[in-house]
Symmetry: C2
Subunit: 196 residues, 2 copies
DNA sequence: AGGCAATCTTGACGCCGTAAAGTTAACTTG
DNA sequence: CAAGTTAACTTTACGGCGTCAAGATTGCCT
């Protein structure tokens, strides 16, 4: 942990933290290698020793952002009403709210080479966000249904709505959540409706 | 139309055309003011006299791309089976196929300041793509339904699916269209089911 | 103590968007 | 038709960007 002229201590982590801050402050366009380096108090070429260029740094930031995203979803699912329908809508509301509150993080998560490359383990199946999605969708999967179909339907619907909503296609996103409720009504028809 | 040393003839159009070509060849990252200018045979500062910087050029390109997108959707809707259900699925298939075939154009269309700023008229309601969406959704709008709800549901679902599918979240997009059919099954439950 | 590898700095290169000033062509006006 | 004006484009320059190559410093290992 000694911080001398040529040894920062934990530069890798500091660069990722700086990147997250830049994303929160100025969105995806504000993220640059040189600004991360400057914010970490290091020369512009230092990051090259820890990441494979800008894409590598972005990937490392995306891993962290994906973790924050997952926590966000978990919190949203667990609060409020706890029926299967409500938990499904809670998940979607958390997804949308994350897009509104942390657009830069969402952009770095989904603007890269795919989520599969961010999860540390072998397959994407172990990522926290996937587990939440699977668990929340489970009550809606009928005996003869493919659970991946239900999950893909929910994911597509909320992902598309969030991106369109955040970019203002359904009107200014700061008003009532009418559009959200309207689109999420489609969830009431998904899969096998579970007992309330 | 005289093309002298200081008068290109129709530079504005040439720059947009060059931009579309760059997008098709190298995606959104390959689009730059200087490359558009070079491809149009003009100095790098020339575009400034026709567009308000790079965002202005991108907007002009997005207008054109949006027109291509609309034609793409119209063609998809009009071919194949012509039941209301089939036309709805045709629309979505065209949306997805456009994302696969012209990812750069889709990125410039939805990566900017919102579609509303691209349509020439006053409101977005007159844009061709909106008219197609509205027309295809109309048979599913019940007497006491808000048609905008149905349209937003369809748009969100196909938009989210397309972006996730193109970026590989449902597996390599070059295989069978299983994911598409699976997600689009949700459309069978939308609105009031019309007579076949 | 000596050697070595990791870490960070410095400098340079080419590409980028943008602004300012200069040049040429076309149009307008008397 | 000649002079003045405007529009279109070029040239030059600046700072920021990602990236590479070379050099300096540090800590570890033998």
């Amino acid at each position: 942990m000694t911080k001398t002229k040529h040894h920062h201590g934990n530069l890798k982590e500091a660069l990722v933290t700086a990147g997250l801050a830049l994303l929160e402050e100025g969105g995806i366009d504000a993220l640059s290698l040189r600004k991360c380096a400057a914010r970490a108090g290091v020369s512009h070429a230092a990051p090259a020793h820890h990441f494979d260029g800008l894409p590598g740094l972005k990937s490392a930031i995306a891993v962290e952002a994906f973790g924050i995203f997952s926590s966000y979803l978990q919190t949203a699912v667990d609060e409020g009403e706890q029926s299967a329908q409500a938990r499904l809508k809670n998940l979607c509301r958390g997804y949308m709210q994350f897009g509104l509150d942390h657009g830069g993080l969402l952009a770095v998560i989904f603007g890269g080479a795919g989520l599969a490359s961010y999860v540390p383990g072998a397959g994407k199946e172990e990522a926290h966000a996937y587990l939440i999605l699977r668990e929340v969708c489970a009550p809606f999967v009928g005996d003869h249904d493919d659970k991946r179909v239900i999950e893909a339907q929910v994911w597509s619907l909320i992902h598309g709505f969030t991106l369109l909503y955040v970019s203002g296609e359904f009107g200014p996103p700061h008003g009532q959540d009418g559009p959200f409720e309207a689109v999420m009504d489609l969830l009431n028809r998904i899969g096998n409706r579970p007992a309330p």
